[in-house]
Symmetry: C2
Subunit: 199 residues, 2 copies
């Protein structure tokens, strides 16, 4: 019943993260209803993403002339403290705190099974290479910033094992009651961690 | 911190229904990560929507040669029973039942305040025109298929008042317990309706 163009659109957009067939259908109708100039604007927004580069060092995105992102290019950032994050948005959240002056490796979204995929393995060997060549074989610290969940814990362990010997110490982000949170509603594990790591 | 291209993308896509800034950011990273050919495919999917037409009769979308959609073009569909729906997706849901052989008017998503906007008023006068010219001033039935919610009820009343005299009868979709639903979990109003309209 729907024109081919809309079915194509739905096929493509329903596969994007967080957008299913229903949402894609809704988007198609919305875009059609907003007219040609809005449609062109949206298409242009996507096309322009093609010019974005990925940093050859940490795999964060950038649009610099060279091959490195702003963080890796910055000579004031400490080289031998490396934070491993899953996603670009995790990196951005950390950067917003302005409290971390080391560098990153974006490993990509990890599975729940604690198994690294081909890309993730490549990125790990890439990191080992960097540590081997530029940091004399050992980083001062590798912060494994996976989520504080059962899967995140498992994945952190897998990554730590992979990097055994490549860092003087391995750390993870601190756990406790989030600022603004209420003790009454904190789960047992969080409270336990908050007690153990009290400040 | 983000390249201009990504910020543009987020600006445009965060405004689409169901997509906020967070989801738009995630989409940008996903698209960048999936490579140029996927980016082009997505852009093409959007561009092609520009060729979709809107039916001059019922305002459903189509890609026919003429100005009418498949439903309005179909000589086997009854002309004097008209269902008013808010959205294209509502029309599609009704069509999937294959139990309605009349025609439609897509009025557009209604506000909660029971006030028709300029486009919606235009569509209502358009419907009155059609009823006046092609149906001798009165449709056999106008089904006002707004959602069975407080707002939907209010909007149905507003539409009915607008069309006073233009139809022999005004109806709405039946109410009761949905198939597969459980009596235990049905709310009071639904049960009341189910009792009153028992089959």
């Amino acid at each position: 019943m729907l024109p081919q163009q809309i079915r194509n659109f739905i096929d493509v957009f329903a596969k994007l993260p967080g957008i299913g067939p229903r949402q894609a259908t809704r988007l198609a109708f919305f875009l059609i209803g907003s007219g040609k100039s809005k449609i062109n604007e949206a298409a242009r927004g996507i096309i322009d993403l093609a010019s974005i580069k990925v940093c050859t060092n940490c795999f964060f995105i950038h649009s610099n002339e060279g091959s490195l992102c702003g963080i890796c290019e910055n000579p004031h950032r400490v080289q031998n403290i490396i934070m491993i994050v899953e996603k670009e948005t995790d990196l951005m959240s950390i950067e917003r705190t302005r409290r971390f002056n080391g560098r990153y490796l974006i490993i990509g979204e990890l599975t729940k099974g604690g198994i690294l995929d081909a890309t993730q393995k490549l990125r790990m060997s890439h990191l080992k290479n960097i540590i081997g060549k530029k940091l004399d074989g050992q980083a001062d610290e590798v912060i494994i910033a996976t989520n504080p969940t059962t899967y995140g814990d498992l994945n952190a362990m897998v990554i730590k094992n992979e990097l055994e010997g490549y860092a003087k110490k391995f750390t993870r982000l601190g756990r406790g009651i989030p600022t603004g949170g209420e003790i009454e509603f904190a789960d047992e594990d969080t409270l336990e961690q908050a007690l153990e790591r009290r400040i």
